[in-house]
Every structure is written in structure tokens, then in C-alpha cells.
Amino acid sequence: MFDAAPGGWLYHLNPLTKLSVSLAFILLAFLLPSPLVSLGLFCLAILPLSLWGGITLPMLNACLRLVAPAAGVLLVVQGLFYPGGQTAALRAGPLVFWQEGLAYAGLISVRLLIMVSAFSILLATTPPAKLAMALQQAGLPATFAYVLAAALQLLPEARQRALVILKAQRARGLRVSGSLLARARAVLPLVVPMISSTLVMAEERAVALELRAFRSGVKPTTYYEIEDAGVERTVRWLCGLLVLAAGIYRLWL
């Protein structure tokens, strides 16, 4: 969804720092009970951070595409049908929007907004491969780091290939539009070749991996060393402490 081009100071941070900050924002939004506090978190922390990093536009674009439709449906459904509705906020003919329902929809929408915008800060400034590499340097076993990196690398290509298969089958006369049944019939000729080729590919890749001492247990060295400044470690600790404090506040106060 994002295209993390080099440039800007956020790009050069350790992906783990950005991941911790994003997760901390999201957990805080779920731990803090008031939508206003969460909205403050967005306006006073996430938005300035994105401006500073120069990624406000892609971030807002993601929010508009993902959060706006969800919030719209939530406001209508919860506003009209919230079970504890007492005070009418708006009357439109026979329809009554309840204030309590709108407030609840608002709370959920703000949380979704924080979820998408906080992850945008990480994802819009971090190439996926770099994230996988950072996780490996932080101690993720090399085997699982390979799984993550390979999937991240293969997916864009596979989505293209899926579309090519779709077009090829259409050129041969497969109907992929029309009634539900017609579209359902199109699924198998598209899906089966993809899966069977995968099983064969897995066998070939396993041989290639074994030839390169994939599971030898020796920790592989990396071409790029991801920098991890002392400040960044401190920021990560602070994020953890902040979430812990919010959790304690939520549980005991």
C-alpha cells in the first residue's frame, strides 16, 4: 500500500523503534477510555510526527480509504440501533440517531484512525525487507526471518501473476463476469494452477535452501547492518513504560 522511498529522517531510524512507537500509540488508544484523549493523541503526536517525517499525505490517504468508510457505517448503524440509546441527537423523519450510539461509534472510529495512522508511520517509511532484517538482528530465528522476507518479496509479483492468469483465461474464453454462478465457476481454473505449481516450487526451493546451509544453526551475517542508536533504545523503553503506565491506570484507577 505504501511506497517507502528513501529520504526523511524517519526512513533512517531502526524499524523496531518505529514499530514500538506505532504499537504504543495503538495500545494507548485502546487503553485510554476517552475518545477525546485518543483524538488528542492523533492531533498532538501522530500528525506532527508525520508532518516532521514528510509522510502526512500518504498517511491521510490511507486513513481516508480505510477508516472513513468504516466510520461512516459505524455512525449510521450504531447511531440508529445502539441498545442503550436514551437521548436523541438528531431526528430525520422516522429515524432517530441516539447520542450514546454516536459517541460509541466515535470512540471506535478514533481507535481505527489511530491504528491506521500509527502503522502508516512505520510502513510509509520502512521498506518491508528492512523490517524483516531488523527483526532478524533483534533475534528472530533466521528460518522465520527467511519466511517473512521471502513472502514479502514474492507477494507483489504473485498478485501481478494472478492478474495475468485471470487475463489469460479470459482470452481463452473463461467468463469471469456475469452471474454469481458464472463467477464462481471461474475460481477453480484460476486457483488450481497457482496452488499445484506452488507445491512443486516448494520442493525446488527446499533443495536450494539446503545447499546454502539453511538450517545449519550458524547465525548468518548480513550485508547491511541496521543502525541502532542509544537514543532509539531509550525511546523503545519509554514506549513500553508509557503503555505499562496506561495499563495500570486502566486497571486500578
Binding site: A70, V77, L112, P128, F144, V147, A151, A206
Partner: protein
């Protein structure tokens, strides 16, 4: 210790080679089905495939990592549903060990049982993270049920069941059919090939 050893046996090199491809299958077929505008997802074929021929723990890992990759590359709403994907993989693997992928009707039944697991894990996530109304077809069905007078919780449970049962039965049958037609020589390389042979 016995469990740890059996997990180690499941994660051989072929398993590690298959998992990323299965993740890609999940997400690419999910995308294709959304292009065709069909009312199912088919975004866990890869997870179930790994679960059947490599065991429940490999299935669980495939589910979790699929949603991590989807969250990173496609949209962040994949992240909160990672536990659901993990449950699909684990339950499917467990059913396969119990012999559910040896005949087509048992595979269909496995799809139904997987749905039960999905509903148990997905409904609370939908309620807590999305307030019950997710921005997709499940959310649309939920809204419809809420509008017809049902409570939010029962609407979420019904909508999740309805939208998943067909999807998971079709998924299980597709996986069963493909493995059925596969040469034993290829299948034999995977750690739990006895589940389907």
C-alpha cells in the same frame, strides 16, 4: 519434550520453503476472489494446505505470518485478525492428523469445524476492535441483522458464521482435491504426508 520433538520434525526445510509460498497463495487468491467480487474470501487456502501436510504448528505459523505480511503490504486491518488466521491453521492441522482429509465429506466437515474455531476467535475481535461492524461484507450482514432488531453480539456471531461456513468448506474441499491429485513422490517430501495418503 515429546511435543517439542514432533514440532521440530514438522518444521523441516521443505516446510520452511512452503510457508512463504502458502502465504503468497493466501493473499494472491484472496485478491483474485475480491476482483471477481464473490461473496467468499478464500484467503486461507495456503494456511490449510500447510496445516494438512506439515502439521498444526506450521499451519498456525502460516496463518500468523500471512496476516503480518498482509498488514505490512496491503492494509493494516490484517493485523488484528492474525489470531483468527492462526486458529484456522491450527484447527485444520489438528483435524488432518485425526484423518479428516482422507475423504471429501470428512474434509467438508472439517470446514464446518474450522468455522466454529473462527467464530469463537473472530467475534470478540470484531466487537472489541471494530465495535461489531467491520468495513466488509461481514459488517454489511451484521448491520442488516442489527437493523432487523437483533442484538449486536448475536448479529456478529450470525454474520461471522454465515460468511465463513461456505468459505471454509470450499477451502477444505479445494485443498483436499488438489492433494488427492498430487503425485506421492512430491507429497512424500512433506512431514505429514501420511495425513492425505
Amino acid at each position: 519434550m515429546k511435543l517439542l520433538n514432533s514440532i521440530k520434525k514438522d518444521f523441516n526445510t521443505v516446510t520452511f520453503a512452503l510457508i512463504p509460498l502458502a502465504i503468497v497463495i493466501n493473499l494472491a487468491i484472496g485478491y483474485l476472489v475480491s476482483v471477481l467480487a464473490l461473496p467468499i474470501f478464500l484467503d486461507s487456502i495456503g494456511t490449510v494446505l500447510v496445516a494438512v501436510i506439515c502439521g498444526p504448528w506450521a499451519g498456525l505459523a502460516t496463518g500468523l505470518l500471512s496476516n503480518a505480511v498482509g498488514g505490512i503490504l496491503l492494509d493494516p486491518f490484517f493485523f488484528p485478525f492474525a489470531p483468527v488466521a492462526a486458529v484456522i491453521g491450527f484447527v485444520a492441522g489438528w483435524l488432518a492428523t485425526a484423518g479428516f482429509f482422507r475423504s471429501w465429506w470428512k474434509a467438508a466437515l472439517a470446514g464446518v469445524i474450522i468455522t466454529v474455531g473462527v467464530v469463537i476467535v473472530a467475534a470478540p475481535i470484531r466487537l472489541i476492535v471494530f465495535g461489531g461492524i467491520t468495513p466488509n461484507s461481514v459488517g454489511a450482514i451484521t448491520s442488516l441483522l442489527v437493523a432487523s432488531g437483533q442484538s449486536l453480539i448475536s448479529s456478529v456471531l450470525t454474520a461471522t458464521t454465515l460468511s465463513n461456513v461456505v468459505d471454509k468448506v470450499v477451502t477444505a474441499l479445494v485443498v483436499f482435491g488438489i492433494l488427492k491429485g498430487f503425485p506421492r513422490r512430491t507429497l512424500g517430501r512433506f512431514p505429514r504426508s501420511e495425513n492425505v495418503i
